[in-house]
Amino acid sequence: MKKPLAGLLALAAAALALAGCGGEDAGDDGKIGGEITVLTQRTDIVNTVFQDYKKKFEAKYPGTTVKFEAITDYEGEVRVRMNTEDYGDVLLIPNSVNADQLPAFFEPLGSVEELQGKYRFVRNEQTFGGKVYGLAITGNAQGYVFNKKIWTQAGVTQPPKTPQEFLDALKAIKEKTSATPLYTNYKDGWPLGQWEGSRGSVSGDPDAAIKLGKDDSPWAAGKEHFIIDSLLYDAVKAGYTEADPTTTNWEQSKGLLGTGKIATMMLGSWSIVQMQQAAPSADDIGYWPFPNQTGGKFHTVVSGDYKNAVNIHSKNKATARAWVDWFADESNYATDQGGVSPLKSAGMPKTLEGLTAAQTEFIEFNPAPKGEEGLAEKIGNAAEIALYDGKYRQGIVDAARGAKNQSKDQIFADLNKKWADTRAKLK
């Protein structure tokens, strides 16, 4: 169908964008040179670390100019801007873009076969139809971040192997220390979405995401989502979490964990560096895998963070592409930020020592079969569950703390029903 008014608006926006450019671009002649605009979510380091990157890049490719645009609400703002053509030359692909929408917005960087020898996370993330659309800026493992001093004080020095052992550890922390054993960061919502990151780490199955899209009852006893959400429910129910979850504050919580007022948070490994910075000593911060073993082993899923991509409407694709490659190959961003490098040749970072010491097996998800890319997320959104958003887990916390009259079984039955109904509808 046509959309006359939206079209007009887009036209007006494009006209404005063109007026703003002043036509000084090097043009799309395939040569590296001229100005590019790079969108980033790192508002905190855009004027420091990123200026350094700019200098190095411009020194390597004389005649280029790099401009940054740091955006606080990256996900929300960029998705809306993508309705125009003006969304930077290089940008991070918003997580909400479905795999089948990639070709409409981004320039392919090469085929999976070409790139998988050199890069991590290109087999199944931000790929479509065998083509790669983005290179990860860094990568994360999954598990929980904790204050070592507090856990040691409570007498726990080995990673718990089952959810029950984990709950026992929280109990010991509650009894022997004054710290809040587990912090949900309920108010901000997204930290609860981080629990979804344990998908795959619980079962150790590289096909976990694919199977989720084909399952009619992900919350049935023994399945991954049952184990993850039960752990959350049981911990809240037993009173191991903050007293009033509705007034939590993410920025504050980092300092509280660093100084031992909070013992544990379930977050991706990206959080380790931030917690270390908030702690008196970086050694106080530990990181362990999700408390569940398959075949006598812990597992953790390593996956890419945001991916740098080239705007398909860019007027300077060659330079934009050079930036994407340079950022992955030479910027050293991932290692500096304590993450897993997108380069296969680089080893695991020091921040993940806790995982390696626990003999954790690092796995990457397998690519989804053609036509099923991002299926689980599609179902989740259509069912209004939105797995990576914290909202449905807020409901679980509410029920567990008695603010909502629902038992764990009722919640899970309800989720299963929504999931199965939506799956049937989407078929």
Partner: protein, 306 residues
């Protein structure tokens, strides 16, 4: 006029006296506000109507026309309207707010000591932006926060509780914040209306032996009836579409979700922009309907005090 001072045009200027205004002048002045109005209000609204008949996800280059499917879905999912009961708290709060505003406006329209200071204090919250207010009150309601501290300092510490954490209390806390914020607006409207009542009427009433309460009942209240009516209409439509304060303070968690928060979640969490637009249209219709009913129940009467 400039033309009159130019040497080649004096005769004409003299003959016509002041040059006549061109008929198009007012429209030229109107052009700017009208353009802004059309670009930022009407085009988006028309777009919203269009989105509401598509299954657009907010990003896809194609917008598939689905007819009235979204409206059918809304009509067949009564749980979408369940959140409207949260609006009842805000309607209750706005009655309190209007009564309080009337009270303060009446008192401060008489000769009261420090009246300008009090006027300022009451109006001030309305000038602070909503996000800042949300942040302030988040700290205010925190366990051990300002409210708890204030309560325990006057020996009422036993009253303190989870102001935002308890689902039975959270909506009172949020509605209270809303009263604090918007009281000033009602207050200023009422104060302005009261001050437009001619002073000689008060003098006459006083000569007849009317006390303050009589003056309020028979003079002030009838005198500002239209403004009170308008305030009620604004209060009810505002309560139905309340968004800012609960969105910032709780994000709609813990049973404090309102219809607009639900709409925003639908559009930007579940990416059902079509359905969300349809919900926005439905809310618009509900508000129009409620306003119409209100006008029928309490029609505008001409005020004639003399």
């Amino acid at each position: 006029m400039l033309t009159a001072t130019r040497p080649e045009a004096p005769a004409r200027a003299r003959r016509h006296g002041r040059p006549r205004r061109r008929a198009s002048t007012p429209y030229v002045f109107l052009l700017v506000p009208l353009t802004l109005l059309v670009v930022f209000t009407y085009i988006p609204v028309v777009n919203m109507f269009w989105y509401s008949v598509t299954s657009w996800d907010g990003l896809s280059p194609t917008q598939e026309f689905v007819g009235l499917d979204n409206y059918v879905e809304i009509a067949t999912r009564p749980e979408l309207f369940g959140v409207l009961k949260v609006s009842l708290y805000y309607i209750g709060a706005s009655v309190v707010q209007i009564v309080l505003a009337l009270y303060f406006a009446t008192i401060l329209s008489f000769q009261t000591r420090l009246r300008n200071l009090f006027k300022g204090i009451i109006f001030f919250p309305y000038l602070i932006n909503g996000v800042a207010i949300g942040m302030i009150f988040l700290f205010f309601f925190q366990p051990g926060g300002t409210l708890d501290a204030a309560l325990s300092s006057v020996g009422l510490g036993s009253l303190s509780q989870q102001w935002l954490g308890d689902p039975d209390v959270v909506n009172y806390s949020l509605a209270g914040t809303s009263v604090w914020r918007y009281l000033g607006l009602n207050f200023v409207l009422f104060l302005g209306a009261i001050q437009s009542i001619p002073a000689h009427l008060y003098e006459a009433a006083e000569l007849d032996g009317a006390n303050r309460w009589d003056q309020f009942r028979h003079l002030i209240l009838p005198g500002i009836r239209p403004v009170v009516g308008l305030s009620f209409i604004l209060a009810v439509s505002g309560s139905l579409s309340v968004f800012e304060i609960p969105f910032i303070m709780t994000g709609g968690a813990n049973e404090s979700e309102t219809f607009v928060i639900q709409t925003v979640n639908m559009a930007f969490k579940y990416y059902k922009l079509g359905l969300a637009s349809a919900m926005a249209v439905v809310l618009l219709l509900i508000i129009l309907l409620v306003t119409w009913v209100q006008r029928r129940v309490a029609p505008d009467e001409r005020v004639d005090l003399s």
